[in-house]
């Protein structure tokens, strides 16, 4: 006897299953073919960048385009950039997903797109942690079919580049993905590689150079003899100065457990204060034996003895050995390092 199953609304169930399967399996491999980006620009000018993208789809579905752009925080790219897309599936605007966006990214364990990008791609080889992923998504979802080969461009126009006024050397990076697959790859096709990933990151190998501007050079690309954390701070912050004795070979200072800060501060009233005494308050201690990395954490107001109503606006400094006779300056020269206490 043949048993017939009678399922109420059979066709509806079939349709639902098909839709669910489509959602689960909807995938397009994405690759950034090339990025048309100038090698340098002047602070305050307008810069146009084109990201050329190719997609290859192995099913049909619907997804929004996700785009991420890594730039220094001081550029305020979210405020100053306009991003659009044009593709064989249509054109439109890319909408900013701000740092406090409430849209949770797919496959991200519950964080938003800017955070997911930061967690997944880090600082893309930039050495100072003062860069941010600025995230966008397409204004409308894009429909695609099995076997589609989609080509398109993401077009970025940055007005007033370098909004903080600092000349800069930075590695710009780009990410293209879709809002369904996040930063995942096709597990059936083996390991994560550009041909199995539903996303693609492109890091420009050469440093983008921003010239002009009134601030100090911010170099994200090259290891620096000294760095200051937080990169932007005032005299009432707690500041960590790091000296890296490994940047120049042979090392500029002999390996020892400590080196010293020799600094001259300029106060808001025009007075200068020099602290150069090779004592405990100026001692940079080595992080571990033979690491060659030396650190001093200090409160600038206290170190330079700022009085009430007086602020420290900048400092010039050298790194010295215990005797104070060998002085290391900017780039290993006899010119001092400079640091301005400011928030932008």
């Amino acid at each position: 006897m043949k048993v017939r199953l009678h399922i109420k609304g059979k066709n509806l169930w079939r349709l639902c299953t098909l839709i669910v399967l489509c959602i689960v399996l909807s995938c397009c491999y994405t690759i950034i073919d090339s990025v048309d980006q100038p090698g340098s620009a002047v602070v305050g000018s307008t810069v146009k960048i084109t990201v050329n993208v190719k997609n290859s789809c192995n099913s049909s579905g619907t997804a929004r385009i996700i785009f991420g752009f890594l730039t220094p925080k001081g550029w305020k790219t979210g405020d100053n950039a306009k991003v659009t897309y044009s593709s064989s599936k249509g054109d439109g605007n890319m909408v900013l997903l701000p740092a406090n966006s409430t849209i949770i990214a797919a496959h991200s364990n519950g964080v938003n797109w800017p955070t997911y990008m930061k967690n997944f791609f880090g600082n893309a080889g930039n050495l100072i942690d003062d860069v941010e992923w600025v995230a966008y998504q397409s204004d409308v979802p894009v429909n695609y079919n099995n076997g589609d080969k989609i080509t398109g461009t993401i077009n970025i126009t940055i007005n007033n580049i370098g909004a903080d006024g600092n000349p800069t050397l930075v590695k710009l990076a780009y990410v293209v993905a879709n809002d369904q697959n996040g930063f995942t790859f096709d597990g059936n096709d083996g390991d994560s590689s550009p041909t199995t990933e539903y996303y693609n990151e492109f890091v420009n190998p050469s440093c983008f150079e921003l010239t002009g501007g009134t601030g100090d050079l911010v170099d994200f690309c090259n290891p620096q003899l000294t760095t200051i954390d937080p990169p932007k701070s005032l005299d009432n912050d707690i500041v960590t100065l790091t000296y890296n004795n490994n940047v120049v070979t042979p090392a500029l200072l002999a390996n020892s457990s400590a080196v010293y800060l020799c600094a001259t501060a300029t106060m808001s009233d025009g007075k200068t204060v020099t602290v150069c005494d090779q004592s405990a308050q100026t001692m940079l201690t080595q992080t571990s034996a033979t690491s060659g990395i030396y650190r001093l954490t200090f409160w600038p107001r206290k170190l330079f003895g700022a009085t009430t109503g007086q602020t420290v606006i900048s400092m010039t400094y050298f790194i010295t050995d215990k005797s104070g006779s060998t002085k290391i300056g900017y780039g290993g020269t006899s010119a001092p390092f400079t640091y301005k206490f400011k928030c932008t």
């Binding site: 701070s233 009432n236 912050d237 707690i238 960590t240 954490t297 409160w299």
Partner: protein
């Protein structure tokens, strides 16, 4: 005769059970417990400190710093200051002594600065957790203070 005795016994049992039931319950009047006033009086020291998530305790000396609250005069005193919500001595206040949400510091001759009042009990002792930016607004410091004996 025997039956009569059992019935009588059951009646006694019933009466005894009723008596027990009757006396077992009694009306209890619950007096509302008054929430204690949050008294900060004492000397507080830093037991945890972070800057933008980086632990500052191993790299900066907080051992000399302390803040002394005096609830009777409403004043506080800083000893060996470090970058903090306020840089000078002055007055402090809680927005509600029983259920405070805000702790306000008014340094002498300065405008009042408020911080969220976070007052958990950790390992049996009260702690105050404060979040503030003494320098650039994008640099966030979180200090946990504990009362010294």
């Amino acid at each position: 005769m025997n039956n009569h005795f059992i019935l009588k016994k059951q009646a006694y049992l019933f009466i005894a059970a009723m008596a027990l039931l009757w006396t077992s319950c009694k009306m209890e009047r619950i007096a509302p417990v008054t929430e204690s006033k949050k008294d900060l009086t004492g000397t507080w020291k830093v037991v945890q400190a972070t800057r933008n998530g980086t632990n500052l305790l191993p790299i900066y000396d907080f051992t000399q710093f302390s803040i002394k609250f005096d609830a009777t005069t409403g004043s506080y005193n800083l000893l060996n200051p470090v970058p903090f919500i306020v840089g000078a001595d002055g007055k402090f206040s809680l927005d509600d002594p029983q259920y405070p949400y805000k702790l306000t510091f008014t340094a002498a001759g300065a405008t009042p600065v408020a911080t969220a009042f976070n007052y958990p009990i950790i390992n049996g002792t009260r702690q105050i957790i404060m979040t503030f930016s003494p320098g650039c607004s994008q640099n966030t410091y979180v200090f946990t203070l504990s009362k010294t004996n």
